[in-house]
């Protein structure tokens, strides 16, 4: 058989030539949603801005410096690694910027520049690129960076500058304790929370407390979180269930023994719970795929957080809890596969 053209002989050879357009061919579908990875990363960064701004307001220029150093070093680190390994440079997708920002928000504002750079190195190179870059990392890179620093440089990582208004910069850098740290010390030394100084709720809610520069204001973080949920970047499952689990567990203990345990409201606003629940635990790469899985994951995070906060050696357990649950994600994903359409029931 002869190969023939399905076009009838054209009168005009020029037209024939013009019609030979180069076209693209791919598998269906041929249209695509406009929401791509850089867009998602941008949204998360926008959502983090209120929290970061509160940090800068209360801790001043040093906080801004930590944020800048973290973002720049993360991006440079990623670009450098990808250049050296001759793989495509993906810094434009914004994930390195986001990792840098999240890392900075998990550091005390007084962190020296080298500490931030080491944190970035661990986060980008060890926790992300060694595993194959974006999408392949089993652990949240920013958290790995933070936990690494916390264990390697405990003093630098727990020196918390006192919050001040941005406009009343005093020359000296007074340091103090975080609310959770003060609580732990009080229980450790006196056996009761009554000894903890000033367990008010308003200051940690607004951000007028010591702590990592991005975790201090529950309000700003909740606003960012609501933006993410409204934008459908994250679902409500992880933050709501995580926070609820912490509230329920601490609430039960508080009802049983209000002398020995702080109120659930305090546990919600203090420490890194809001930052963790809205921004760290919801990291898409390192959280379960299905909504059921997300609920299981969030309950696990909540339980471990409370266990470490109340009975562990560290005053704060959010970072550890999320990292540990990150490791469970493959198992959770296997256990919570959605029911397929038409499954025999």
């Amino acid at each position: 058989m002869k190969n023939i053209s399905a076009s009838n002989p054209a009168e005009d050879p020029v037209k024939e030539q013009a019609a030979k357009l180069s076209v693209y061919v791919s598998s269906s579908p041929h249209v695509h949603s406009t929401e791509d990875v850089p867009w998602i990363m941008r949204q998360v960064i926008y959502a983090l801005i209120p929290g970061a701004l509160v940090g800068v307001y209360f801790f001043g220029i040093p906080a801004l410096r930590v944020i800048a150093v973290a973002i720049v070093s993360c991006v440079v680190m990623e670009a450098l690694w990808q250049k050296l390994t001759a793989s495509p440079v993906t810094i434009k997708d914004g994930s390195a910027v986001l990792t840098g920002l999240l890392l900075a928000m998990n550091l005390p504002s007084g962190a020296p520049w080298w500490l931030v750079v080491i944190g970035s190195l661990v986060a980008i190179i060890i926790a992300k690129q060694l595993f194959g870059g974006i999408g392949n990392n089993p652990f949240n890179p920013a958290l790995v960076g933070r936990v690494f620093l916390l264990i390697s440089f405990p003093v630098a990582m727990t020196t918390w500058p006192e919050p001040r208004s941005f406009f009343s910069q005093a020359a000296d850098a007074a340091t103090g304790a975080t609310p959770l740290g003060a609580l732990k010390t009080a229980i450790f030394e006196h056996g009761t929370i009554a000894a903890a100084p000033g367990l008010n709720l308003m200051d940690p809610f607004l951000g007028n407390v010591g702590g990592s520069l991005g975790e201090i204001s529950a309000l700003a973080l909740i606003l960012g979180g609501i933006y993410l949920i409204a934008r459908r970047i994250i679902t409500w499952h992880i933050p709501v269930v995580y926070i609820a689990t912490v509230a329920v567990l601490t609430g039960i203990l508080w009802l049983v023994n209000p002398e020995g345990y702080a109120s659930p409201a305090f546990h919600l606003v203090a420490g890194g719970l809001m930052l963790g629940a809205f921004f760290m635990a919801t990291d898409m790469v390192t959280s379960p795929i299905t909504n059921t899985g997300k609920v299981v994951f969030a309950i696990g995070c909540g339980v471990i957080t409370v266990v470490i906060r109340l009975w562990g050696g560290y005053p704060e357990g959010v970072s550890f809890a999320i990292l540990i649950m990150n490791a469970f994600v493959p198992l959770i994903n296997r256990a919570t596969k959605p029911a397929k359409f038409g499954a025999v029931r």
């Binding site: 058989m1 002869k2 190969n3 023939i4 053209s5 399905a6 076009s7 009838n8 054209a10 019609a19 357009l21 076209v23 693209y24 061919v25 791919s26 598998s27 269906s28 579908p29 041929h30 249209v31 695509h32 949603s33 929401e35 791509d36 990875v37 867009w39 998602i40 993906t90 997708d93 194959g132 870059g133 974006i134 999408g135 392949n136 898409m284 790469v285 390192t286 959280s287 379960p288 795929i289 299905t290 909504n291 596969k337 959605p338 029911a339 397929k340 359409f341 038409g342 499954a343 025999v344």
Partner: protein, 436 residues
Amino acid sequence: MKTFKGGIHPPEEKQLVKDNPIVDFPLSSRYHVLVQQHLGAPAKPVVKAGDEVKKGQVLSEPLGFVSVPVHAPTSGRVREIGRIVHPVTGLLAPCIVIDADGRDEWAHGLPLERDPFAMSREELMDAIKAAGVVGMGGATFPTHVKLSPPKDKTIDTFIVNGAECEPYLSSDHRLMLEQPERVLKGTGVIMKVLGLNRATIAIEANKPDALRLMREKAPAEIQVEALKVKYPQGAEKQLINALTGREVPSGGLPMDVGAVVQNAGTCAAVWDACARGIPLIERITSVTGRGIMQPKNIRVRVGTPLREVIDFCGGLNSVAKIIFGGPMMGIAQFTQDIAIMKGTSGVLVLREEDTNITAYSACISCGRCVEACPMGLIPSVLSKLGEKGMHQKAVENNLLDCVECGSCTYVCPANRPIVHFVKHLKALSRAAGAKK
């Protein structure tokens, strides 16, 4: 409003062509009729170069039950039997070329005048098969096969699919608006074949004019249902689920839950075949997209060269992709040297900014595909398995349940060609199965 679980909401883009009345495509000078225009066993040409043929004359005879003939779209002379690019496989396939004589004369005795409701079930089935009717939504599965369920299956539901959930396309919409009688009478014939006394016509709610008209014209035994606007509302299994709540079992067919679904265009073709003996030689096609100058709904003969169709619609504007079918499940073409087929529900020309030609990146496990999947699968895992060619693991992950609707790929922020991976894995799995 009735619907199913999962799905997506892509921009509909139907405004480009939905209000354009159907126009007749003028007679062409030469037709290229592919021998294989259906899903199933091949057919064999029964004419040879030099033969005189009349409009509606049989050009090929089916080899096997799951096979249908093709017919001459006009009168003329068979120029040759050669090979042209098949729009579905992209490879060269046998085709019968007919030089039109311009008289457009019907084959002897056509069209007939008969009352299908006076015919027996067997006679109707024979008429449908002889007319070469296939599923006109794009799947091109022979209709007579779908209408002959095995003895052990009882059919209690017949659904006419007028959902037309693919963005851009409006051919079924125009058909229902302009020729509601053909659709309704065809529905009646199929009800008779299936031995049912009721049927449902399902239309997405974005076609209120068609819904209104159908409700007005439909006899009491045919119910018209509005469906929620969501893709893939017109997919067989999702449609049945939305209307009856039944789930076609995994690996099963609609007949396993007592349902038969036929496209609205197919119903019209069944009416022509049974009442007038006219074979499937023309269809209604939406020529649309921002890459074409004048989007039109055309009534076009099977075998018309695509190049002429594009010229008829004002030519190309700027083109990145030419697609047979809709944007979600249609097949991209690389040349205009192809011909319209029985299953060509649309010719879609997309500009570069309407489509997606960026490279894909790693899966970020966002879970959007899981939300979108109407079949309850985990497309992200399938795509990763596809990257590694691990087809056995993919089958364990319900690969074979995928209907390739493209919802997952549409929402994937990493641009991953998940459907392509699925097709790839299915091919690997088939090849491995064939080897054993």
